[in-house]
Subunit: 291 residues, 2 copies
Amino acid sequence: MTTTTNAPEVHFGAMRKKIDLTLAEILPAPEADPGRLYEAMRYSVLAGGKRIRPVLAISSYRATGGKDDSIYRHACALELLHTYSLIHDDLPCMDDDDFRRGQPTLHRKFSEYIAVLAGDALHALAFEILAASGNTEVIREVSQAIGTEGMIGGQVRDVEAEGHDVELDAVEAIHRRKTAALIRASVKIGAMLAGAGKDVVSRLEQFGERLGLAFQIIDDVLDVEGDFAHLGKETGADSRLAKATYPKVIGVEKSRQEALRLVDEAKTILADFAQRDIFYELADYVVARKN
Amino acid sequence: MTTTTNAPEVHFGAMRKKIDLTLAEILPAPEADPGRLYEAMRYSVLAGGKRIRPVLAISSYRATGGKDDSIYRHACALELLHTYSLIHDDLPCMDDDDFRRGQPTLHRKFSEYIAVLAGDALHALAFEILAASGNTEVIREVSQAIGTEGMIGGQVRDVEAEGHDVELDAVEAIHRRKTAALIRASVKIGAMLAGAGKDVVSRLEQFGERLGLAFQIIDDVLDVEGDFAHLGKETGADSRLAKATYPKVIGVEKSRQEALRLVDEAKTILADFAQRDIFYELADYVVARKN
């Protein structure tokens, strides 16, 4: 299977624009009280970003027959959750990062307490928005993906693994929880909200799991090979913190190969799926991306 | 109206015991991975506490005809949310507290990053549990109560107000969001889960709002007049941080009077409510409590 590097920039541009507009609408206006909190939330969420989780949820929703535009709001809840996790991970007591999406991290720009509380506020807001879907199965899926068995559990293991020699299995386990769980859930809830059948939901979930893992491997690779101009954050952070990453354990080249292998595996799962093209494009984008 | 100081200790003892058992069941076992995270979550949640929010939700549920024991799990989600907020408020970048419920605060006992993430994990777990209620209106209610218009917004205003001269109106506005919002929601969702009619839900909500405000005023009073043995935390913290409190603005005696006035007002709202006794007991407890 070949990869097409520019496809997503062309195809998903309109979707991303609408996602950004929806996010701006969802977030409380900075004129309200306490304005500093709302400015902080907007600063982090509206700084840009790939919007990969909402793009996946919306694509999955449309491909499985969903027609309603309310999907944009629900999908944006995933971006709020992702952003909250970045804000907390960047804190001095964790990764202590100074830049994110080309700007100072939230605790650098505002203050540490505002960063903790803005993250908390985005977390709560995401569930307020998801509640409007009327679908408690979706809420359960998302809360599990970001909980102890998913994102948070992975983040704890990630910090614990710093400075230790780890096997590839352990790195994979961390990535599955820290990153793949929410990406998997993004693909899955799109189909759930569209009312797709169990088999379709399950296959999209398997696709999302592999895509999520490939996504994090490429993240690790970009931390070694990328540059500030593309990434908007300092590279080499993983190495500085002695993080458990694929490149650290098997090198950059084999890491790329593993990401490609996972993406091929993901595609195979959807090989006889009529609406497979959009997912293939997204899969190619994940390994070809520069940021 | 008279107050009976010992009633809740007697009457709510069995309920509290069952709440504690349910919390122990809900929280992930410390043998699972990452164990340190699960130990931290259990350490904070199972350290005791008044369990006032679940007690209110369960009482409200029963008084409005709810029969199912699943209310215990849903009510415990409120305690998880309350505990997460305490963990984050105690952090060095906010109140920098060393003791809570008679033990070292979580960041002191474990570490700061574990405290941030354990709080996040409790936040997510609460919504996972509420999702099992199948009631998205309840989820919306709770997410709003802990969000920017409720708890988080109040906490930001609380920290911002430190060291400033504030009017009573401003203190009341902070307390309404920081504390009363979740207490009001606790009373309200009990009735919602029992399928109570709009009028009953609305009156319980108004009762809960006043009770929540009285609760926080007494909290402020106890910070001045209480002692470590009863409270399990250092007193005088508000004064040390120059917090915006009722005693600071109107003194201890007038603060107590205001709490009593609010509790009387709360009772009046339920005066012709057939099941009012349990709520009257809870209201009396709020002003009579020593911790």
